[in-house]
């Protein structure tokens, strides 16, 4: 065979014929593209789509407001304690709550603004305690003044404020504030752990669901309903006409289904398995197409254990049949062979079908197998980068040669 230079493949070219191929079915190109998108998402860590599905973290202001009732409760308890000692129950309660609110807003606000992280060490505790110490006199003074205004009691000015009794109350405020902060921080930690658990559960669920969808798409991509129903129709016919051949065909169908279903669950397979699946597929197509299809598989024994991503050959072999030989009146032959070139594995799918066709006018077009080839190419790029290639070349006198080159990996 004479092989002219490679032709650039136009991925977007659509089949021109209403019934010529899978790319014309309900969802053009979705089946393999979907798989690809998922595969690459997996490689990228899948982080962004999942993050968007998790609940958004609560804002700091909302967290501050949510913790405020706790501080009021603590203040009320302290006020009750002071009230027991000194009387003036109502006054003490109001002033104490006001002091508590101010102190808490300053200290917890500072914590949320500057030290809002899960793990705490001395580096976080020390400035927080300093803030508490600094906030206590401010809170006490402010609380006293505002409380006095509300209750109509005379309150000390800043000049007459410092007395030993008030200083002890400031100290008491410090203790109360510290207590509140410790409580709030503890509550925060518990809540954070709960949230993380829930998020982890949700994330696991999402990943599982996505993996399941990916697997479903892989399955759909491999077993095209049209192919399956046509095969079943043939089987149905053979049962009445030639039961022995029906049995053979059923064996091939089972082998094909088993091969494709089992490889779908793993990310890579061996050449031996892939060739077995292709043999079964071509065998089934051979029964359907009768004398119009012959096929040959050439796998050197030393390459049987070579590894390759699953489903890499399938679209190429399917293309050779669906776009090359099935629409050709006389049919022809498909040859699939593997070889080694340097440290690369070379797999060729060669058919004598209708071949590459040029579209009208300007652009290089494909006869409709752009989807299969372009998804295979995208996959190769995602998996191997520059180290893998795929090319399509016309074959003389008629036909197409698809050549895959990828790094040789033997188990």
């Amino acid at each position: 065979m004479q092989l002219p230079e490679a032709v650039p493949v136009d991925a977007g070219a659509a089949s021109r014929h209403p019934f010529s191929g899978s790319s014309q079915r309900g969802l053009p190109g979705i089946r393999l593209l979907g798989t690809m998108a998922l595969l690459s998402a997996k490689r990228a860590g899948m982080s962004s789509p999942i993050h968007s599905l998790l609940p958004a973290p609560r804002s700091r202001l909302r967290r501050l407001l949510a913790d405020l009732p706790l501080s009021i409760a603590v203040s009320a308890v302290l006020a009750a304690f002071i009230g027991l000692v000194s009387g003036h129950f109502l006054e003490n309660l109001v002033v104490s709550i006001l002091i508590g609110i101010v102190a808490f807003t300053i200290v917890d606000g500072g914590r949320l603004l500057w030290w809002d992280r899960p793990g705490w060490s001395a580096r976080e505790w020390a400035p927080l305690l300093a803030l508490t110490v600094a906030a206590a006199p401010v809170a006490h003074f402010t609380g006293l003044r505002v409380g006095g205004m509300l209750l109509g009691i005379a309150t000390p000015t800043l000049a007459e404020y410092p007395t030993p009794a008030r200083m002890s109350m400031v100290l008491f405020t410090m203790l109360g504030t510290t207590m509140m902060v410790v409580l709030v921080r503890y509550r925060d930690r518990v809540r954070r752990i709960e949230e993380e658990h829930a998020a982890a559960r949700l994330r696991a669920e999402i990943i599982e669901r996505q993996a399941l969808q990916a697997q479903l798409r892989l399955l759909q991509a491999q077993i095209e309903p049209h192919m399956l129903f046509n095969t079943l129709a043939n089987l149905q016919g053979l049962i009445a006409i030639d039961p022995d051949r029906a049995g053979e065909m059923l064996d091939q169908l089972i082998q094909y289904l088993r091969a494709t279903l089992s490889v779908s669950r793993t990310e890579s397979t061996t050449l031996e398995q892939e060739f077995a699946a292709m043999d079964a597929y071509l065998g089934l197509m051979g029964v359907r197409m009768g004398e119009r299809l012959t096929h040959r598989l050439d796998l050197p024994p030393e390459l049987k254990t070579a590894r390759l991503p699953t489903m890499l050959l399938q679209p190429l072999v399917e293309n050779a049949i669906v776009h090359g030989l099935e629409p050709k009146v006389d049919g022809g032959e498909v040859v699939v062979r593997a070889s080694v070139a340097g440290d690369s594995l070379v797999i060729e799918v060669c058919d004598t079908g209708l071949g590459l066709r040029q579209l009208v006018g300007q652009v290089h077009g494909r006869r409709g197998d752009g989807v299969g080839v372009s998804t295979t190419r995208e996959r190769l790029v995602a998996l191997y980068g520059e180290r893998a290639t795929i090319s399509l070349t016309p074959v003389h006198p008629q036909g197409t040669l698809a050549r895959l080159t990828l790094p040789l990996e033997t188990a």
């Binding site: 209403p18 129903f229 006409i241 009146v329």
Partner: protein, 266 residues
């Protein structure tokens, strides 16, 4: 005796359909099976069956195209055959068939479903013994095909052509598409005719069609696409055949019954 032709590229399916039909309709004579869309037309023209089972996906041409070609080439006193399309489960065309009320059976063929089709076909064949025009039959088929063609998604056009490049000797002539009166398929070439010239381009008509403005250029037969702005009149002879008068051209292209509805009075 009713005669049937089966066009199906998968030999086992053809044999199965024949066998099932024999069981359901013993008086039916299967006169042949055609392995592709081209042979389907040849054999139908040669064997003149009453019923034609046409697989949709066939090499050569699809069942729809075969029906279209047959409608165009069918002549003579025999009525046009009843066509039953055979299609695989997931062909989206099924919905189109339902809407267009075209007879079809699904693969794998169930005897029950095929039995209903056979009943309907028997009634139709019986009704035919009363005299009826074959052209009318072809026309009704033509309308159905027209509906189908409208329902099936057209090939994605990758851009409209505005100028054609046609090699004439050593010169490449640039022909504005707007000047073209008609395109005529000649083997693998297309003859581009303007009011004062003709040139061949090496593009199948089928591939050219998606690149033309569908409002301006209409297919009038399998081999002819006409610039509607250049149609002066359409004449109908006593056989019901429609021919066109074109501006600036002496040719009088014939309109296929499939497309005759384009030139019916309003």
């Amino acid at each position: 005796m009713t005669r049937a032709l089966i066009a199906e590229d998968e030999p086992i399916l053809a044999a199965t359909l024949a066998k099932t039909l024999q069981g359901l309709w013993p008086e039916l004579e299967i006169v042949g099976t055609a392995p592709n869309g081209l042979a389907a037309v040849q054999q139908a023209l040669a064997l003149r069956p009453d019923v034609l089972f046409l697989d949709i996906r066939m090499p050569g041409q699809t069942g729809l195209e075969a029906a279209e070609e047959l409608a165009e080439r069918w002549e003579g006193p025999q009525p046009f055959p009843h066509i039953v399309f055979v299609t695989a489960f997931d062909d989206y065309a099924v919905e189109a068939f339902e809407r267009a009320a075209v007879d079809y059976v699904l693969k794998p063929v169930s005897a029950g479903r095929l039995g209903k089709t056979v009943e309907r076909l028997r009634a139709l064949v019986d009704a035919r013994h009363a005299p009826a025009g074959s052209v009318a039959d072809a026309e009704s088929l033509g309308q159905l095909l027209g509906q189908l063609q409208a329902l099936l998604p057209a090939a994605a056009a990758t851009g409209r052509l505005t100028t054609l490049r046609a090699a004439v000797g050593n010169v490449v002539r640039m022909i504005p598409v707007a000047d073209v009166v008609f395109f005529q398929a000649v083997d693998k070439y297309v003859n581009v005719a303007t009011a004062d010239s003709e040139a061949l381009i090496r593009v199948p008509l089928k591939d050219l069609l998606p690149h033309l403005d569908p409002d301006r250029f209409r297919q009038v037969s399998r081999s002819m696409v006409v610039n509607m702005a250049c149609v002066i009149s359409a004449g109908r002879d006593e056989m019901g055949k429609v021919t066109l008068n074109l501006r600036g051209r002496a040719d009088k292209p014939r309109v296929s019954p499939v497309y005759a509805h384009l030139f019916r009075q309003m």
